[in-house]
Amino acid sequence: MIKKVRSHITQNESLLFEKSSPGKTGYQLPALDVPAVDSQAALGAHNVRNEIEHFPEVSEVEVIRHFTRLSTWNYAIDLGLYPLGSCTMKYNPRVNELVARLEGLAWAHPYQPESLSQGSMEIMARLESALLEITGMDAITLQPAAGAHGELTGILLVRALLEKRGNPRKKILIPDSAHGTNPATAAIAGYAVENLRSNARGTVDLAELERMVDKDVAALMVTNPNTIGVFEEKITRAAEILHKKGALLYMDGANMNALVGVARPGDFGVDVMHLNLHKTFSTPHGGGGPGGGPVAVKKILEPFLPVPRLKRTRNKWTFDYKRPRSIGRVRAFYGNFGVIVRALAYILAHGGDGLRNATVDAVMNANYLRKKLEPYYDLPYTAPNMHEVVFSDDRQAKLGVRTGDIAKRLIDYGFHPYTVSFPLIVHGALMIEPTETESKDELDLFADAMISIAQEVETDPEMVRKAPHNTRTSRVDEVTAARRPVLRWTPEQPRTKTAD
């Protein structure tokens, strides 16, 4: 039975370009207090454009209605549990939005004098030190704009250190359970990728690692807890194997929400890692960004961190650009400062104990869902799990229903689906991460929905395969979208029906 939702009217809405009519406006500019300038004379006639063809012409009311109507077509954390595994869709505190918009912070220009930027620099420094305490690492850069950008920064640091030791080496080892960004990153940093097969527990196979680590291996990139939500218990041993051969241990911190206050990567042999401020530290995902991907390192890698670095001299913060061994910049300016503000607000709100409690609750919630769903879904890896749990569609697939279908049916029950078909080591994966911010009531609603769907698979698999049934948009034809890409609106295009 569907308990969480029932249908309500949603508004139709066409594209802005279709709503436009000539001469309509929704803006106001102040009166010009200087003489107007003839643009053709100032810029040269050939440098001045004609009107921007088909650009929107709408009123202010039309703008607000347009975007409000569109917004109602989205699912969001603010509407309920959002159990995407490895994405850590936790509540985004609203006070963080307020403080990031304070005038002195939001309007700070990156090139304004350091004497007028001490507040911004203090915020960055305070986040740096909090993250170092949380990770147990020695030094950190906040410059990378997102997780994958942090990965690239981290691997470039590895490369710089090995180069200084005389040989950058050729290969990065990556477990078959890894996020796709890991191999893509290694390739961009100029490394060949070698896949490390997981063992029967779904974790790093030490014997295989020992066999593969040679003089050509620069680093192992490992996610811990890994993508099936299991802590790599032999991580310190893995670090020893790597270090003995002169290789480094990179940790993808995507799943750090399982560790804060409980275990620190710096204490279990990690040399370099990134954090995702938009996962562990609650900054909003915003429909796909912005993120923040700080990279924390051990002492040996510190000289190579991107410029500039924050430095305290004579009771003032300054930026230090004179770092000859730095890998250089990975981004203009100092990173996603607005995201940094929000992450620090989250840490200040929680404090040390609160952060640890969040970890405990996140792991508790995942274990609770595991217990409730285990009788209904196949659990291919049975090691104790941390903040997420990964089932497979093994039982349902026998009746012709795949993980993607179950996910779509979940939408009818008022939930966003879990992560579908990832990690690759689980055939037909259902990857579920509830996070700490969900109440038992919401978890129960979700579990009931999953159980109900498992029963529907047995009684009416065809219905599940055609889900969702109750959404304003039914299953979308992604194949045609890719085969005949239409990536922009054009007036010549035959008018498609606007859901009417």
Binding site: L15, G26, L29, S39, L43, I52, E53, E57, I64, L70, S71, T72, W73, N74, I77, N92, V95, V99, G104, L105, W107, A108, H109, Q112, Q118, G119, E122, E133, I134, A145, G147, L156, R159, A189, V193, T236, V260, V262, G286, G287, G288, P290, G328, R329, V330, R331, A332, F333, I347, G351, G354, V360, P384, I411, F422, T473, D477, L487, R488, W489
Partner: protein, 434 residues
């Protein structure tokens, strides 16, 4: 919940972790604080920054008015707290806005397709360069010295380990625009791309057509960078480029001490499959209604892993949405009028100063300081609660007494007069005051 899990305490959840990885003490962080205390803390930090100053800084980050509509829209939880729109059936809001974003970027730039955004302008540059390398099968890139210096630094960081040599070419010391002869000399058959910026770092508007001709003659692609998106409201679109990569901060994205911003890459249709980043495409749902979804994902890391066109995973959806709302509010007429105001303000200011270059400019320009040190002038301005322009000598030693100044629709005439006064030689200052 403990009972349901068969646990005697929550601590038991971590019993399987080896002792040596566990932290045996509480984190050394202050206890948690209330919402009021958080606001108070950040208000105090904000007060330590510049507040109430008029600023003449541009150089890649521009102070433009943010219509109230922008935050009204992006603070809606449905946009703010949703994930990447993989599940199209319940993400049509985000998908539709991205499709509109892609369309408007194409309309502005004269390109056929635009992606759903990149981290920022600076990282869009190496992504565009790597794209040109894939398209041409060549390895070298030539970048104008008038491209934002920090963008060039980012390009070098990325290029270093990919066997992608990066070389600079010069600008003309009188006009401040590209030295096309130097470009022609340095172009060779290994050059995958020529990278230029317009308006360039000095604010000078470049002639894109002539640089395109030179690049294309040698089989190289032309990548055009922009940092001041408002200029697109007035300037001819860089339609002769093969790839346009830019920064949209000017479109209602607050300066925010350097980020988050939104970059974008736009290109010709024939290069779509070499493009990095997310793309939204139009399709139908099973009932035949128009619908949108992420598409051409076979270029991306979650499918292609090490063979992907980029390792990029996130775009900057929420920031791109700010730009989309901004473009919708200003629209066809407003964006032009906004750009004309910027042009007028900067030309008013330049009329009172001595411009360093003769090339046409939009809303920023280099001014010569009449023998006084840029630092002295800026110190004097700070006393009047004005943040002056950016001294150029740090990146361009040959421009020792030049300052890069920007004026936008938010710059008041009186403040420009004060700047002009600070620039004038000491003995003239009294006359100016009269």
């Amino acid at each position: 919940m403990l009972d349901a899990c068969g646990l005697e305490s929550a601590e038991a959840l971590f019993r399987h972790l080896p002792g040596e990885v566990r932290i045996k003490r509480p984190l050394a962080l202050d206890p948690g604080i209330s919402e009021y205390d958080i606001v108070d803390y950040f208000r105090a930090r904000a007060a330590e920054n510049a507040t109430g100053y008029a600023s003449f800084l541009g150089a890649g980050v521009y102070a433009h008015y943010r219509p109230v509509m922008v935050d009204t829209v992006v603070l809606r939880g449905e946009f703010l707290t949703s994930y990447t729109p993989y599940q199209a059936e319940i993400s049509q809001g985000t998908l539709t806005t991205i499709f509109e974003f892609q369309t408007m970027i194409c309309q502005l730039t004269g390109m056929d397709v635009a992606n759903a955004s990149m981290y920022d302008g600076s990282t869009a540059v190496p992504e565009a360069a790597m794209m040109a390398v894939r398209v041409t099968g060549r390895d070298r890139v030539l970048v104008a010295r008038t491209v934002h210096p920090e963008y060039r630094e980012v390009l070098r960081t990325y290029a270093l380990h990919q066997g992608m040599p990066v070389d600079d070419f010069e600008y003309q010391s009188d006009s401040g625009s590209l030295d096309l002869e130097d470009l022609d000399r340095k172009l060779d058959d290994h050059t995958a791309a020529v990278i230029v910026q317009t308006p360039n770092f000095f604010g000078v508007v470049e002639n894109i057509r002539s640089v395109a001709e030179i690049a294309h003659r040698r089989g190289a692609l032309l990548i055009v960078i922009f940092t001041e998106a408002v200029a697109l409201g007035l300037l001819a679109p860089p339609a002769d480029a093969d790839i346009v990569a830019g920064e949209l901060q000017s479109f209602a994205i607050s300066p925010s001490y350097g980020g988050p911003y939104a970059g974008v890459i736009a290109t010709k249709e024939k290069f779509i499959r070499q493009m990095p980043g997310r793309l939204v495409g139009e399709t139908r749902d099973s009932r035949g209604n128009r619908a949108f979804c992420l598409t051409l994902a076979t270029r991306e890391q979650h499918i292609r892993r090490e063979k992907a066109t980029s390792n990029i995973c996130t775009n900057q959806a929420l920031i791109a949405l700010m730009a989309t709302v901004f473009m919708s509010v200003y629209g066809k007429q407003g964006l032009r009028e906004l750009a004309e105001q910027n042009l007028a303000k900067a030309h008013y200011l330049s009329g009172k100063l001595k411009p360093r270059f003769t090339g046409p400019f939009f809303n920023e320009f280099a001014a010569v300081t009449n023998g006084r040190s840029p630092n002295d002038i800026n110190q004097a301005l700070l006393k009047k609660k004005i943040v002056g322009g950016l001294p150029l000598a740090g990146w361009y030693p040959e421009l020792e007494n030049s300052v890069l100044l920007c004026a936008t629709e938010m710059t008041r005439r009186e403040r420009m007069d004060e700047v002009a006064q600070a620039f004038s030689p000491v003995r003239e200052q009294e006359q100016v005051q009269v």
